[in-house]
Amino acid sequence: MKQFAKWLSTTFLSVLIQRHNSWVIPTIQTIHIVGIGVVLGSVLMIDLRVLGWAGMDQTLRQTTTRFGPWLTAALYVQLATGVLMVIGEPVRELVTFSFWLKMFFVGVGTLFAAIFQITLRKHERKWEETLVNRGSIKWLAVFTLLIWVCIIILGRLIAYDHVWGSWSPATKA
């Protein structure tokens, strides 16, 4: 991975980003933070609706129609800006424990969001009438929100990967 990261840092796009480092990286990071704001806001509103704490004048479907597309769009923005950051600073990103754990959580979080939106579309009545009232589904909503919270923490910890001690590949250098 370290070799791959080093190779990546010699590619054209990476060199281009590095050359304009002073403003490109902060700009991409800012877009990434704005994006996670939209992601977390959208997930929060859908989860609060599942929990029955907000949007109770709306059906689950209406809530998801409102926030689902914003969540999906924001996730694409996160992917694009995330890829650019990896290309711009491959060693800083890829040679960390936090990054890979974060990617695992991103996979789980995205999978949950996709399964929820697809099954809601297919079994709308079942979701509205029974599933949404189930305790296990409500716990799943809390769990989903926590996944995104962990993603944010791990994202920030990429900059402080040494907190993981020997788990961090960076400290083995």
């Binding site: 902060p26 800012t30 923490i153 920030r156 040494h162 001690g165 788990w167 961090s168 400290t171």
Partner: protein
């Protein structure tokens, strides 16, 4: 007491020292700050888009606001608390930092923006509550709010690039990292991070 002496006393306080001496605390406080700001921004966007007539237009403004604003305020309290904790670890440096000052100014402006809303469109909500967008004063406030909050995020990020934390300047002290939570892990090799993590 003058401001410099006050800031120095903040830096010397027990809690600031505790955060500086810990490998974990500052990163965790900063992460919590990001969680809080993501919630503040994510929820404010929902309100602003409703005012602008872009999203949630079929719901009354009052309903949208009453669902959301309590979460915005709770998240704002979280960012204010974590922001203060980060500030006291290196108060003088932040105080003199251009981006920090600009960020504080923008926060004040966004507060004033909110007051302007209450004094204008906020007074006539009953007239446009169910309309798909707010009157032009409300739209102007919403647009200004979006610009200001994005600018606040920009400033926040730039503070990280232009300030250096004393604790990070020194190599991380041995035996205070994740290994200590796991029993029987052999001696770690003790990394060196002589520069601010954001500066690589």
């Amino acid at each position: 007491m003058d401001i410099v002496a006050f800031l120095k006393s903040l830096e010397a306080s027990g809690i600031a020292t505790r955060i500086r001496d810990s490998l974990w605390l500052f990163p965790l406080i900063e992460s919590t700050h990001v969680i809080g700001l993501a919630l503040v921004f994510g929820t404010i966007v929902i309100i602003d888009l409703r005012l602008l007539g872009i999203a949630s237009t079929q719901r009354s403004f009052k309903r949208v606001a009453s669902d959301i604003l309590k979460w915005t305020w709770a998240a704002f309290a979280l960012t204010a608390l974590t922001g203060t904790l980060m500030f006291i670890t290196n108060a003088l440096v932040y105080y003199h930092n251009f981006f920090f000052r600009t960020k504080m100014l923008l926060l004040v402006l966004s507060g004033i923006n909110m007051v302007i809303f209450e004094l204008t469109a906020g007074r006539t909500i009953h007239n446009w509550d169910k309309a798909s967008s707010a009157p032009s004063a409300g739209k102007a406030v919403a647009a200004a709010s979006l610009v200001m909050w994005i600018s606040i995020i920009v400033m926040g990020r730039l503070i990280g690039f232009t300030t250096t934390r004393a604790a990070v300047l020194a190599p991380p002290p041995a035996g205070v990292n994740f290994d200590d939570f796991l029993q029987g892990t052999p001696e770690k090799s003790g990394g060196t991070t002589p520069v601010h993590p954001d500066k690589k």
